[in-house]
């Protein structure tokens, strides 16, 4: 059969060597004013991409001020003593610059991209903002008002509500349960003074690294970081909690959504501190990919291809420094909720007991190939390096990925699927029309009903 024959010749080892050579030739590292710099020399396009990494995230937000770090980055462009918000955003957009921030619980990123010809004025403005952002009250109140409005309107996106609620329930009590963007209640408490203090911490005390993609002109950043950002390396980071145990959820959490004609399902759990960064990351990724990583994954085959229950079903495992998450997300129409839930649980069980050789080989090759494809964009590649550095992993691991995946047996995969998604450890969350509570109860499930508003 063609299929089998082609899989046999698909070793995918040489592409990784090829990628390694290309990347080794173009990746350089420096120390500027004590700050680690990683530069991917890339002059194929007249553009640049700079990411500031801070080893400080939303865990540093005080309990009543969740969302403060996220809001601080969002408000960097809201005004300084020299420039108004209007002048700042107009100036950056005139240069065609794009900028965005990402705040996780453990670290934060601020990314800027644009045309090389405008690199210096753009980066000088960005550094001016870090050094001088004033967080004017009027602009802050406007942003808070927009944020609150967005949260109130979240009910129009059932998938987002389900994911937000699931995060809270599955991480409850770990220190990681609150959304980094804050809640309706916490956002209201945040003041300009809070943001200024937070920024000062990032400027003076947080551990920083800088990742750059672009041609040689980007080395101008050295002087800008020293003179305009006035940055030196910091040495302080908020302590990251150790996750020792899993939240107990014997009942299914049911989040009631008004007028829902579809039902969202989330199954997953937190990975404890002693489960992450222990050398099994590749195997965990393999397990998630096998269950829900593509059109041929086990969940897609059963739930979509065989049963026509859903449009999509995905599984993912992600790790940070001190914790991780394993998650399955899917949805179906109201009347097939039970079939979806039971089929999902059955698929997990089956694959934690016996995986057939054909699907094992397919998942393995798929994962290796897609990992290589993920290295194609240099911007994406740099994002990988950021995560590697945060977790203290050697870059060489990137090139060992393929070999490591090849070293796993079917039994390793079965065991890891059981470890990650075994029924006893899971939080199960269903979001949809309240009438479905009875359907679940009738089928013998214990259910705890919650209103979506409590997750806003």
């Amino acid at each position: 059969m063609n299929f089998r024959k082609i899989l046999l010749v698909s070793l995918l080892l040489s592409p990784f060597s090829y990628a390694k050579n290309y990347l080794d030739e173009n990746l350089q590292s420096y120390k500027w004013n004590g700050i680690d710099i990683v530069w991917m020399h890339d002059d194929t396009l007249p553009t640049y991409d700079v990411t500031f990494y801070f080893q400080e995230g939303a865990l540093g937000d005080k309990p009543k001020l969740f969302g403060m770090t996220d809001l601080m980055f969002n408000q960097l462009t809201s005004g300084t003593k020299r420039y108004s918000q209007k002048q700042i955003v107009e100036s950056l957009e005139f240069y065609g610059a794009s900028y965005r921030s990402k705040v996780t619980h453990e670290f934060s990123l601020f990314n800027v991209g644009g045309l090389v010809k405008d690199f210096v004025p753009t980066m000088k403005m960005i550094c001016h903002l870090f050094d001088n952002a004033d967080f004017p009250k009027r602009e802050l109140n406007q942003t808070k008002s927009r944020g609150l409005s967005r949260l109130k309107n979240l009910v129009t996106d059932h998938s987002k509500i389900a994911s937000r609620a699931f995060r809270y329930e599955s991480l409850k009590g770990t220190g990681f349960e609150n959304p980094t963007e804050g809640t309706i209640k916490s956002l209201k408490n945040i003041s300009s003074r809070d943001l200024k203090k937070r920024l000062e911490f990032f400027n003076k005390q947080a551990v920083k690294r800088v990742y750059i993609k672009g041609p040689k002109e980007v080395k101008e950043l050295k002087g800008i970081l020293a003179n305009d950002c006035k940055w030196k390396q910091g040495h302080i980071a908020t302590a990251v909690p150790v996750v020792k145990s899993l939240p107990e959820h014997k009942k299914i959490i049911f989040v009631s959504l008004p007028n829902a004609n579809q039902v969202q399902l989330r199954i997953g759990r937190v990975l404890k501190t002693d489960e992450v960064n222990i050398g099994t990351e590749e195997l965990k990724t393999f397990a998630a990919n096998h269950l829900g990583g593509g059109f041929t994954s086990q969940l897609m085959q059963v739930l979509r291809v065989q049963k026509g229950l859903t449009y999509s079903a995905g599984a993912v495992v992600a790790e940070q420094g001190n914790y991780g998450r394993a998650l399955i997300a899917t949805f179906t129409k109201n009347k097939t909720l039970l079939e979806l839930l039971e089929s999902t649980l059955a698929t997990i069980k089956k694959n934690s007991q016996k995986i057939d050789q054909k699907s094992f080989v397919l998942s393995r090759n798929n994962l290796k190939g897609n990992y290589l494809l993920g290295l194609e964009s240099t911007t994406d590649f740099l994002q990988n390096l950021i995560i590697f550095d945060h977790r203290g992993k050697d870059y060489e691991e990137i090139y060992k990925f393929s070999k490591k995946i090849d070293s796993y047996k079917k039994s390793d995969l079965e065991k890891m699927i059981k470890e990650l998604f075994g029924r006893q450890k899971q939080t199960i969350l269903v979001a949809g029309d309240k009438k479905l509570v009875q359907v679940l109860k009738k089928a013998g499930f214990e259910v705890e009903v919650k209103d979506y508003k409590q997750y806003l």
Binding site: P46, Q142, N366, N370
Partner: protein, 454 residues
């Protein structure tokens, strides 16, 4: 399997958005030098190839020049349903084999359907080019459309419809706006299709549709990556050369499209209030635009960016970051289709703001915007942003393939991007002001609102 309507809100990226293997940039002038090799087989299949040896991978795009505009009442949604079925097996590679071969060889694939096109794409390690050519040739000529999988996929599409449109206020807005603005034209039926049609369309009707439109003379293939162009052309001749073209296809398509025509209806002005789930109102306001490639469409692209693209855009300053803001967000877009186009604004009110008074303020502000918003600096800002847009996402093979394929299909010339750059650069402030008066100021519009109080 689809990213339905993925180009709907990123119109200027459709016009600007590709990649280059070698890009010349001297004295801050940017030029894209792509080494594209083109061949058209005797049966009409057009093939574009770019060799890019950066990494041992490649992307393969197939554009079929058929989308929802070719559907008739009763079979709406068929282009999209067919897109799903194209992954369900053909004669040589049976049910389930397509995904298995792509993913099992370390690749990924997907597809999307629009009003004008259906596009399929794969990315894999280079050694698998021959397999992909064989798979694509198989499904272009011998699709199985098995009854059982057809019925299952019908359900999957109905769920997709709920996910994207019925359960999202923004989806309801978009769907209603397209149907209302283009009512009476081939663009007036939605890409996702009417629920009733999706429930009743038969396998035979979809198969007939396939036979008619999935032909080499209705397709463009773009291959970019670590491939040898000579080998690609040879393999494509071998795999696709014997596939028969659809006779009189152009006449057939023209006949279908001319039956309804693309003129906007005379009573274009319309207001529709939809019942939604969100506690704050969202809106869309649409004006008549121009089709892709029309000179005014380029002008309207820039106008949309000046008015509602980015934090420093005119309407964002007026309504979102003003002293007394009324909106949490606003965007403007010029959606150009192959035969027509609309220019629209969309946004979300802040809580406690009154919808009716905001709409009045918006229309008043729009009438003033033609004079106030358009300046030399705002024009230059947009051109700078377009340059960045042109290069964004351009460091992938898929980016190059899509960049070239879009232009080959929409303009009949993959090289058209050079003219596009000149077109944008040639537009003056006065021309922008004229277009603003001609298309926006006090012109008929379609207004759609949605929230839980309607």
């Amino acid at each position: 399997m689809s990213q339905l309507l993925q180009r709907s809100l990123i119109v200027f990226l459709l016009v600007f958005g590709g990649q280059a293997c070698s890009i010349l940039h001297k004295n801050h002038e940017y030029d894209i030098a792509l080494n594209v090799k083109k061949k058209t087989l005797e049966n009409g299949l057009t093939i574009l190839v770019v060799e890019n040896k950066k990494l041992p991978i490649f992307s393969y795009y197939t554009y079929f020049k058929v989308g929802s505009k070719f559907e008739v009442p009763g079979i709406t949604g068929s282009s999209h349903l067919l897109e799903h079925m194209m992954f369900k097996g053909a004669k040589k590679y049976g049910a389930g084999e397509f995904d298995k071969l792509v993913e099992g060889n370390g690749g990924k694939n997907n597809a999307y359907t629009s009003n004008d096109l259906t596009v399929y794409y794969e990315s894999l390690p280079s050694e698998h080019f021959d397999v992909i050519a064989d798979l694509e040739a198989d499904r272009m000529q011998n699709l199985l459309l098995e009854k059982e999988s057809f019925e299952k996929e019908r359900n999957v599409v109905l769920e997709e419809r709920k996910l994207r449109y019925e359960n999202r206020d923004s989806g309801k807005l978009y769907l209603t706006m397209m149907k209302t603005a283009f009512k009476g034209t081939p663009y007036g039926s939605s890409v996702i299709g009417e629920i009733e049609d999706l429930k009743t369309v038969s396998r035979k009707e979809v198969l007939d549709y396939f036979k008619k439109y999935y032909a080499p003379n209705n397709a463009v293939v773009v291959v970019v990556g670590d491939v040898d162009a000579k080998h690609v052309f040879k393999k494509m001749q071998e795999k696709f050369g014997d596939i028969k073209p659809t006779k009189n296809l152009d006449k057939l398509k023209q006949k279908h499209l001319s039956e309804l025509g693309f003129d906007f209806r005379k009573d274009f002005e319309k207001t529709i209030h939809l019942k939604g789930t969100g506690p704050v109102p969202q809106f869309m306001l649409a004006f008549q635009g121009k089709k892709v490639g029309h000179k005014d469409a380029f002008t309207l692209d820039i106008l949309a960016s000046i008015l509602g693209e980015g934090k420093s855009s005119y309407l964002t300053e007026k309504f979102v970051i003003a002293k007394n803001p009324q909106l949490s967000s606003i965007q403007a877009a010029n959606y150009t289709l192959q035969e027509s186009g609309i220019f629209f604004l969309m946004g979300e009110l802040l809580p406690e703001r009154k919808l009716n008074s905001f709409i009045k303020d918006l229309k008043k502000e729009l009438s003033q915007s033609c004079e106030k918003a358009i300046t030399e600096r705002s024009l230059q800002k947009v051109l700078n942003q377009y340059l960045v847009g042109m290069f964004s996402g351009l460091d992938t093979n898929a980016g190059i393939a899509s960049f070239l394929g879009d232009r080959e299909v929409y303009f009949g010339d993959y090289n058209f991007y050079k003219k596009e750059i000149d077109m944008y650069r040639s537009i003056s402030v006065d021309q922008l002001k004229t277009a603003c008066q001609q298309y926006i100021n006090n012109k008929e519009s379609v207004l759609i609102t949605v929230w839980n109080k309607n």
